[in-house]
Symmetry: C2
Subunit: 158 residues, 2 copies
DNA sequence: GTGTCTGCAAAACATTTGCAAATGC
DNA sequence: GCATTTGCAAATGTTTTGCAGACAC
């Protein structure tokens, strides 16, 4: 469902800080839970639940899909983790402090870009003026064409 | 799910016009295909493939899911039909030449709104200036909070 | 010890695919 | 007549659910 912005986003520089935050909430730090957290730190950017479950291609023992989903949901509830939907395909997950960004996604080549929310302030204001909607590009990104594909599109039409 | 449609419905061609367009492309007009087309005309707005397959709750005989999907894809290829993704849930289909083309979707209450693309020209320009992306809100809508939910959000926080 | 988490299995859900039989043109 | 299209059945990919046993605290 909709991501619930509960607590202010914690700065989470390392695994142990997140683990400590989990424990502080009275939740248990199991091997599976720790591995989900470590996978998110190890990943270069957005990762699917399936990638996390299979150990990110590393030599780690796999964690069951259901446990990964349960953990991601729990961690998202704590505000430590977020997910985003880039077009079709599975939801993609990342640490909350890394994902406090707005996303753009190219419908043609699949490239995505994460930007500071402030960069899109003017766009959000324009949407608001035109429609009254308060746009959030965090969970469902802006879809469209990246600069390269937009240029190719123009070349093709001319 | 409250559907807020503040969209002027331009004169859409009738069923026979679409049927004629299908035949003109050398495709066959079967009972199932005709029913898919009629369902799209009968629907008040966006409908799922599942709703079309089950006859829109009417007394019509059901059409097989696979046939509905195949037909929607074919008709979309002809430019007669298109689909959008409102958040999670199934894709939603509508006739291509119904007036409104850009969608906004409320992540909280699920309401959606279809607007003239020109209304969002300024927003698209702002995205372009800030990021170089050419935003298209047609297939994946703008997600955020509708005016009502945005107001409730403010009230709740204050 | 107690209540949370885990892994496994199975279901839910939207969609796609394979194929023999039906049918529009 | 013949290619297109259908309905059925089964597979796909993603996520959820139910549950008995394992384990953190």
């Amino acid at each position: 469902m909709t991501a619930t912005r509960t607590s202010p986003t914690l700065a989470a520089p390392d695994v142990e800080t997140v683990v400590a935050a989990v424990r502080a909430r009275g939740l248990r730090v199991t091997a599976a839970r720790r591995q989900v957290i470590e996978s998110l730190f190890a990943a270069p950017g957005l990762v699917s639940a399936e990638q996390i479950a299979s150990g990110l291609g590393g030599a780690r023992p796999p964690v069951d899909d259901a446990s990964v989903y349960a953990n991601l949901e729990t961690l998202e509830g704590l505000g430590l983790v977020r997910h985003v939907h880039l077009g079709h395909g599975p939801g993609l997950w990342t640490l909350a402090d890394r994902a406090c960004r707005d996303f753009l996604h190219c419908e043609r080549c699949g490239a995505w870009r994460a930007v500071e929310p402030s960069l899109l302030a003017e766009a959000r204001a324009a949407v608001r003026r035109a429609t009254g909607y308060q746009a959030r590009f965090t969970h469902f990104p802006i879809a469209g064409l990246c600069p390269d594909c937009a240029r190719a599109d123009l070349d093709h039409e001319s």
